[in-house]
């Protein structure tokens, strides 16, 4: 057994985008184990009956959401250069995933408090007034039904929003929203879309003509600094 002090803690920041947004958190976790094994990274295994490579992910990414800022922590049995790890992982990642950074963690995963999301909506119902309408919508109390594991709950979306800005980019509507995403307080960004659907006319037509996408841009700590 390797003494605790020789185990090297490593944090990996990566992107996951395109069709891979449909790969669930659990599937990603299993995929990642295999990526690390085939990359030849000397990862630390859990002890016990059924040893598993130890990987800890930050705030799980919901299905259907892309990300430029996923984090995972691993422990290594022996030293390996961060750049070497980055290259090895990228060589073994599927096409729509990419390592951005590898480093020794500076903060604890539980320090993640907010996530900066980008929502892009394209719809015929968008006009010059749409940004103002959206910003106004989210500055008031706004209740949305949250469904999970067969239960329904009314959630006031406003309570989870730190800041929200809407702008037109060409004909599309862009929303940047910093929302609570930590272990204490967490909101699925799909609920923002839900709020727009139920309270405006922007997303009410054919799903093939009206498109929206959600992307994580950065994870932030309590002071709104980029998480390290």
């Amino acid at each position: 057994m390797v003494p605790q002090n020789e185990i090297m803690q490593i944090r990996i920041k990566f992107k996951k985008y395109g069709s891979l947004m449909y790969i669930s958190h659990l599937d990603l976790a299993r995929t990642m184990q295999r990526i690390i094994v085939r990359a030849g990274i000397d990862i630390w295994y859990t002890e016990g009956f059924n040893p598993q490579p130890k990987i800890v992910f930050a705030v799980p990414l919901p299905v259907g959401v892309e990300s430029e800022c996923e984090y995972m922590d691993i422990k290594l049995n022996s030293f390996m250069d961060c750049e070497e790890i980055r290259q090895r992982l990228n060589a073994n990642f599927p096409d729509e995933m990419e390592v951005i950074d590898v480093y020794v963690p500076e903060q604890k995963l539980k320090n993640i408090t907010y996530i900066d999301y980008e929502l892009l909506i394209s719809s015929k119902a968008i006009d010059d007034n749409s940004p103002e309408q959206i910003e106004k919508l989210f500055s008031n109390d706004i209740f949305v039904t949250k469904r999970s594991k067969g239960t329904e709950k009314q959630v006031n979306v406003k309570e989870y929003i730190n800041s929200l800005k809407a702008t037109l980019i060409g004909k599309d509507l862009q929303i940047r929203a910093v929302i609570c995403s930590g272990s204490d307080k967490n909101l699925n960004p799909e609920l923002l879309i839900e709020a727009i659907k139920t309270n405006t006319r922007i997303l009410n037509g054919s799903p093939l003509e009206e498109l929206y996408s959600i992307k994580r841009k950065e994870m932030l700590d309590l002071s709104l600094n980029i998480f390290r």
Partner: protein, 616 residues
């Protein structure tokens, strides 16, 4: 189309089935490709991705620079609904291009109950389901896999069938296609005629079939002199030299067999009389331990999988098993890789073997005695003795196992109620054995008896046999339930209605095509899935088509009758089949290939034979 696809994925279950983009998938430059090949699996992604044969052929075809082979799976019903609602035709996994414009569309036909799903996929691609309705501008639709050994029930839908092992044959076929296209001589009819001259290809439209008044076949002949009277199956001569995929695609979502699947050998020395695989994969050809070990290392390096499964029809018959496992364990153990050996025979289960397989996580073992009495086991040529089974379970119990699963079959030829009672008695003796072992685990034993229904299969000594009627099968299942009284024995049985439908299609002929087409039109698909299997609806379809399912499932065929699958030559002679069929009724066993050659005839196919005498 990409955009539409992405949007509908939000509204279907398990969208990971449809995304593609897995590590290891093969993307090629369309402009340099002369043959776009779609390899379709008529079931879900999770099942299709677990099929080693499909992976093998995918890799073999893609090693050709002019061919791009892509994967296609059957969309689940919720996805199909979305596709039909939004006019999205069936696409290939890698490029997301519609397969309607591909050159060759191949289907892996693994079991009879996938037929409606396969036909539905052709329909979803926007192509006519009947071969005669597809013109020169549409892809050639090919069928292969185990069902191609009697392809007659789907003969009207497919242009051509690949018989036997396809890794070389499919490449040859594609080359013929490329050649004709580049010469400008291609027409569908000319291509199929030429393809019928390649060994291992069966073009059903080139044969005339006539029937007698009693429904049996009167004549089954090629329409032209240059078309072979019999289509001999293809085999790979030397598994040490042939292609094996070492950079498999890594699925994101959990699939049925999510591990390294390492093929050890093809064929089986045993010759169980009910088993189609044991006949059609003859002759036995083995991979040597070094090839196996090299391939395993390569795959591990390319995948990161932590489990290796050695696949075969009966792993303990692999002559290099000990050498191979020693070589593998030397590096799999330090890398925390599990080694599993499915398909173990009870008579070759040893302490040494048990210690080798790192089945720490498995609490149980599975054996397949198939029949409850020695008499019936002899009649089906299982060549397994009760003492061997008892010995195996004792070893397992002493090794800390407390669960044993036993597989049997109901409705085997010559079966009596005494044989059925024998299943209950055998299971009871396994329970008793457990409590006689002082070192047994400190928990109660659990013996699971799993009983399926016998389905007579083409190209087996039991091919002429009728299946028991539905009533007989159900009576037998009930009878066994009454005989199993011990609460430590769990009893599972297979739905007899499913087996009956399997029998109809297994032994069916061309006249069944219209029933399958009608079933697809009526919205039937995924017949192998409990939630979609609808026996009554099938019976209604048969009635509407004027087909009597009993004619196929419950009629004893004559030794001198022309069988629908006689056009296919698997290498094993009909004389051998007749001999074996007669021996079954005399309760006579036949030695396995290792003990003594019984002259089945498969050695005429050649190859690097492990046990057969070489033909001069």
């Amino acid at each position: 189309m990409q955009n539409n696809l992405s949007t509908i994925l939000k509204s279907v279950s398990k969208p990971g089935r449809y995304t593609g983009g897995e590590y290891g998938q093969i993307i090629k430059d369309k402009n340099k490709i002369k043959c776009r090949f779609a390899f379709c699996f008529p079931d879900t992604y999770e099942i299709g991705m677990s099929n080693l044969g499909v992976r093998l052929l995918y890799g073999a075809l893609n090693s050709e620079p002019e061919i791009w082979c892509e994967r296609v799976y059957a969309p689940w019903t919720d996805m199909e609904e979305q596709m039909r609602a939004h006019n999205i035709p069936l696409w290939a996994h890698e490029s997301k291009d519609c397969i309607k414009n591909f050159d060759i569309v191949a289907f892996s036909l693994q079991y009879e109950l996938c037929y409606t799903t396969a036909i539905n996929m052709i329909d979803l691609a926007g192509l006519p389901v009947f071969a005669k309705d597809r013109d020169d501008n549409m892809p050639i639709i090919l069928g292969g896999g185990p069902c191609a050994y009697n392809a007659e029930p789907v003969a009207d839908f497919f242009d051509i069938f690949s018989i036997g092992e396809g890794e070389e044959a499919l490449v040859e076929l594609s080359r013929l296609y490329i050649k004709m296209k580049s010469e400008g001589t291609y027409t569908k009819a000319y291509f199929l005629r030429e393809a019928s001259h390649i060994k291992g290809f069966y073009v059903p439209s080139l044969y005339d079939v006539e029937y007698n008044e009693d429904g049996t076949i009167a004549r089954f002949e090629p329409k032209y002199e240059d078309v072979p009277k019999k289509v001999e199956k293809r085999i790979i001569a030397d598994l040490n030299k042939s292609y094996f995929p070492t950079k498999p695609i890594m699925p994101f979502i959990e699939v049925v067999h999510d591990r390294i699947m390492l093929e050890t050998f093809r064929g089986c020395i045993r010759g169980c009389r009910f088993c189609q695989a044991g006949m059609v994969f003859r002759p036995v050809r083995e991979k040597n331990a070094d090839t196996l070990n090299c391939q395993a290392r390569e795959i591990f390096k390319n995948t990161g999988y932590t489990e290796i499964s050695l696949t075969s029809l009966s792993i303990s018959d692999y002559s290099c098993l000990h050498e191979a496992t020693d070589k593998l364990l030397a590096w799999t153990n330090p890398n925390k890789i599990n080694l599993s050996l499915p398909s173990l025979r009870a008579d070759s289960f040893t302490r040494e073997l048990m210690n080798k397989v790192s089945s720490i996580r498995q609490s149980g073992l599975t054996f397949a005695p198939e029949a409850g009495t020695q008499r019936l086991r002899d009649a089906i040529n299982k060549n397994l003795y009760e003492k061997d089974l008892m010995n195996a379970v004792r070893l397992a119990f002493e090794g800390g196992k407390s669960q044993v699963k036993l597989y049997f079959m109901n409705g085997l030829p010559t079966e009596t109620y005494e044989d059925i009672e024998g299943i209950a008695e055998l299971a009871k003796r396994v329970v008793d054995e457990y409590y006689q072992i002082p070192s047994r685990p400190k928990k109660p034993v659990s013996v699971t008896v799993s009983v399926s229904c016998f389905v007579p299969k083409p190209h087996t000594p039991f091919q002429w046999e009728p299946q028991n009627s539905l009533e007989e099968l159900c009576d037998k299942q009930k009878y066994l339930a009454e005989k199993i009284v011990d609460r430590k024995i769990r009893y599972n049985w297979h739905e007899a209605k499913v087996s009956r439908l399997e029998a109809v299609f297994s032994k069916g002929d061309r006249r069944l095509s219209k029933a399958i087409a009608l079933a697809q039109q009526k919205g039937m698909r995924f017949d192998a899935w409990d939630e979609y299997f609808d026996y009554d609806k099938w019976m209604q379809v048969f009635e509407e088509c004027g087909i009597d399912p009993s004619f196929y499932a419950n009629r004893r065929m004559g030794y001198d009758e022309i069988l629908p699958w006689d056009v296919i030559d698997i290498g094993v002679s009909k004389q051998f089949m007749v001999r074996e069929s007669k021996r079954a009724y005399e309760n006579q066993t036949t030695p396995n290939c290792k003990e003594k050659c019984s002259a089945c005839g498969a050695n005429k196919l050649g190859g690097d034979l492990t046990w057969c005498p070489k033909m001069k």
